[in-house]
Structure formats: structure tokens, C-alpha cells
């Protein structure tokens, strides 16, 4: 089970990576941590002719906080996020979600940006980007541009990054202390991609929900905001009844496909259960 042969180039900077991508066209692929790309290549489901290894670009590691925005650079590893001290509810959500990404050896190699660029619809980071309307910064031959999360995930394994662009960093809103955040996943085994996952962030002021964000993974070709359930939460008190009602709506607004891990109805059941639990729980 060996990958198809390819040429390998190391990029020392983002500019070099972009230049290499321009040179090789869409036969080239960017290699970050490789924890998603390399298995696909071993199965020969991905067959790039050139790999541009950006792993050595140290500028692309780490995170920073400025006013109300947390910026995570794309090569920040899952394990670094798990051990990070990003403050507030966002930090809690990042750390918790990072701990659910695969197993430790995967978290040690895999990167935040790599996962987003891979665009698996049940990935924790794709859900978080969708949940919080992240802003994805990419660099291409004609300079930098920003892609909003809602425009970023086109379908399974297909981000809106052009072949000659590199994802450099991601901006997430630093959630205020009134936010309650949570993530609930259902997987058959520890470390597996969730069959269904629900991530939530609700802002509660004076016992009234003033902002509600819900995102489900594993129910569509991309992570999906549960807009009807969100709408039903706004203006309500954060009670079990409110949450149960939102959960019912959530399970009705998704239209998942069945597969060998479960039927459509099963996934809807999971959306309901996990939405309720995610809203009821709080990581902060």
C-alpha cells in the first residue's frame, strides 16, 4: 500500500510555497502534518505528482490574541492547541476540541490549517470554523485574501482554496465571558471521527439567550449550522425545555445520508441527543 511516486519540495517560506504551487499547477499539493493526506495517498485515493512540504515554515506556527480576535496560524499542531492558554470560552472550546482530534500521535503531527484544508465534514476544526464564522486567510500569487467560513467549505474534502494558494492563518472571535460553549461527539470508538457531533456557543445575559450558535458535523457534505434551532434559542431562557425544543428542531432540519455506521434516522436521533447535551453542558 505505497503511494504513487511524487516529487518532493521543501518550502522555506509562504512565498516559496506559492511559487512552487504556481510552477507545478494543480498536480501539486501542500503537505502540512500529513495525517489526512498521507493515508489517502497510501490508498492511492490522492495522487499528487508534487508535494510541497510547508512543515518547516516556522512563521506558520502559534497563535495570538488581539482585542476580540484570536488568530491561529495554520501549522499550529492539534496538540499545541490542546496545551494552549487561549483565554476565555474560546480557549476552553479549543482545548477540549483539540483533545478529540484523533489520537495523541495524530495530534502531534496534524495541524489546525491542514485539517481545515482537508475539509472533512465531521472534523472538529471545520465545525468550529463554521460555528464561529471564522475568517480564513490564504496567500496566493496575487497576494492575500480572506475567505469567510461559510464560503470556505464547498463539499467533502473540497475547500475554496485555489490550487496556487496556501492557507496561512485563521481568525476566530474571542468569545466574551457570557458565552457558554460545548462540544458533544458520538463515535463508536475513542479517537474516531464522530458519526455525529454538535458544537455549541450560546451567549446568556440576564438569563436570556442573546446569541446562539449550533453546528453539526457528520450530517452533510460540510459542517452545518443548525439555523432553525439557533433561532428558537434566541430570546429564551436557557432551560432544559428550551434546549429540548431546539434539539427537536435541529434533528428535523438536518437531512443526513445513511451509511454503514448508521441510518439517516439514527443520525437525526444523534443530532437531537447531542444538541440537547451540548446546550446543557458548558466547558467554562
Amino acid at each position: 500500500m505505497k503511494p504513487q511516486a511524487f516529487a518532493y519540495e521543501r518550502a522555506e517560506s509562504v512565498d516559496q510555497a506559492v511559487a512552487a504551487l504556481v510552477e507545478h499547477g494543480d498536480e501539486a499539493k501542500v503537505l502540512a502534518g500529513g495525517q489526512s493526506l498521507l493515508p489517502m495517498m497510501n490508498f492511492r485515493l490522492a495522487r499528487p505528482e508534487v508535494l510541497i512540504d510547508i512543515g518547516g515554515i516556522s512563521d506558520l506556527r502559534g497563535w495570538s490574541l488581539s482585542q476580540d480576535t484570536v488568530t491561529i496560524r495554520s501549522l499550529t499542531r492539534h496538540c499545541d492547541i490542546q496545551n494552549s492558554d487561549v483565554p476565555g470560552p474560546l480557549g476552553a472550546l479549543l482545548r477540549y476540541a483539540a483533545g478529540l482530534v484523533g489520537h495523541l500521535p495524530i495530534r502531534i503531527r496534524g495541524t489546525f490549517g491542514g485539517s481545515l484544508a482537508h475539509s472533512d465534514p465531521s472534523s472538529e476544526w471545520c465545525m468550529m470554523a463554521t460555528l464561529l464564522d471564522a475568517r480564513m486567510h490564504v496567500m496566493g500569487p496575487s497576494g492575500a485574501r480572506v475567505i469567510d467560513a461559510r464560503d470556505f467549505f464547498l463539499t467533502v474534502f473540497t475547500p475554496a482554496i485555489e490550487f496556487d494558494e496556501v492557507l496561512t492563518h485563521i481568525e476566530l472571535p474571542a468569545l466574551g465571558s457570557n458565552y457558554r460553549v460545548n462540544l458533544k461527539e458520538f463515535a463508536r470508538r475513542a479517537g474516531d471521527f464522530a458519526i455525529v457531533a454538535v458544537m455549541s456557543a450560546i451567549e446568556v445575559r440576564d438569563n436570556v439567550i442573546t446569541d446562539a450558535r449550533l453546528c453539526a458535523g457528520g450530517v452533510s457534505d460540510r459542517a452545518l449550522r443548525l439555523v432553525q434551532a439557533e433561532a428558537a434559542l434566541i430570546g429564551q431562557a436557557p432551560t432544559p425545555e428550551t434546549f429540548a425544543q431546539a434539539a427537536s428542531l435541529a434533528s428535523q432540519e438536518v437531512d443526513p445520508n445513511g451509511d454503514l455506521h448508521g441510518s439517516k434516522e439514527f443520525r437525526q436521533d444523534l443530532v437531537k441527543a447531542l444538541t440537547k447535551r451540548s446546550l446543557a453542558g458548558s466547558l467554562t
Binding site: G34, L38, N42, G191
Partner: protein, 160 residues
């Protein structure tokens, strides 16, 4: 079909190996076939089973999901480095022996390296944390009970 080979130096268990590999060569294959260190095993080649776990800069990684060319300049450690020649078994190996933590032995190298990373870390893991990390690798023979017992005992032995 093959692509130009790259000349690289792998640092494994403190020794340098100058090897020529195709870029598609995984670290696991390079260790086994180019460095002749066959103690690292391949169970799935898609990053799930963990039989190929080695340490890179003292952190556990799947050697089937690292290219040999990516490992250039990194310090790689394999099962062969735990105890060399007639040296006594490493405490983790000793604990696996005493607690019957292996049967067919195919997952053993991967578990030993994973366990070594735990034993060498500064934190003493809780039971839950230990399970979380050891759940990274698959074993088909032991039912895991003795592996966990062995790792707990190795942690204790090295803290004394």
C-alpha cells in the same frame, strides 16, 4: 514511474543513517528496509493501528504517516534503541515482560514506544489520561488489561 531519489540522513537511536530514498518512502519503510531496523512493524499503513509508532523528538508518531524525507534532521527513536545488545531490558520492556503485556508481539514495539513517551513525560497521568493515550494503538491479543498494568508499573518503577 519512480521519482528521483533523495539522499538523506536519518538520525535513529543516536546513530546517523545515510540513505537514498524515493520521496514516497515512509519513515516506517525507511527504518525497516533502508536502516535494517525491522523492529518497527506495519499493521495498516493508514494511521489507525499504531503498530509503527516511533518517537520523533521524543514524541510518539505514526511512522506510516511520516515520509522519510520529513524525518530528516529529527531525532527518531525505535524499539531497538530501548535496550541495546546485552543491556538489561528498559523498564518499560521489563514491565511488559513481567505483566504478560504481549502475546503475538506484533503491536508490542508500537505500544512500547507509546508507553515510553508516557513514562518519560513529566506528568503522571490519571487513569483516564492513560487510557486515552494508550487507546491510540490496537492490540488484537491481550484485551489491553495487562498492557495498562505494565505501563502503570513502569511509570511507578521509573519514579522511584
Amino acid at each position: 514511474m519512480s521519482s528521483p531519489r533523495e539522499s538523506i540522513t536519518l538520525n535513529v537511536n543516536g546513530s546517523n543513517y545515510d540513505i537514498d530514498v524515493e520521496p514516497r518512502r515512509s519513515l516506517a519503510d525507511a527504518l525497516r528496509e533502508d536502516c535494517h531496523l525491522t523492529g518497527t512493524r506495519l499493521g495498516c499503513e493508514h494511521g489507525v493501528c499504531g503498530a509503527c509508532t516511533v518517537l520523533m523528538n521524543d514524541e510518539p508518531v505514526r511512522a506510516c504517516l511520516v515520509l522519510a524525507v520529513q524525518a530528516q534532521g529529527q531525532a527518531v527513536r525505535t524499539v531497538e534503541g530501548l535496550s541495546v545488545g546485552s543491556e538489561p531490558l528498559h523498564p518499560v520492556q521489563q514491565a511488559f515482560w513481567e505483566h504478560h503485556a504481549l502475546q503475538c508481539g506484533f503491536c508490542t514495539a508500537g505500544f512500547l514506544m507509546l508507553a515510553t513517551s508516557i513514562v518519560e513525560s513529566d506528568n503522571v497521568p490519571t487513569d483516564q489520561e492513560l487510557t486515552d493515550v494508550l487507546a491510540s494503538n490496537l492490540c488484537r491479543c491481550t484485551g489491553y488489561q495487562n498492557i495498562k498494568k505494565a505501563v502503570c508499573s513502569a511509570i511507578e518503577a521509573t519514579r522511584k
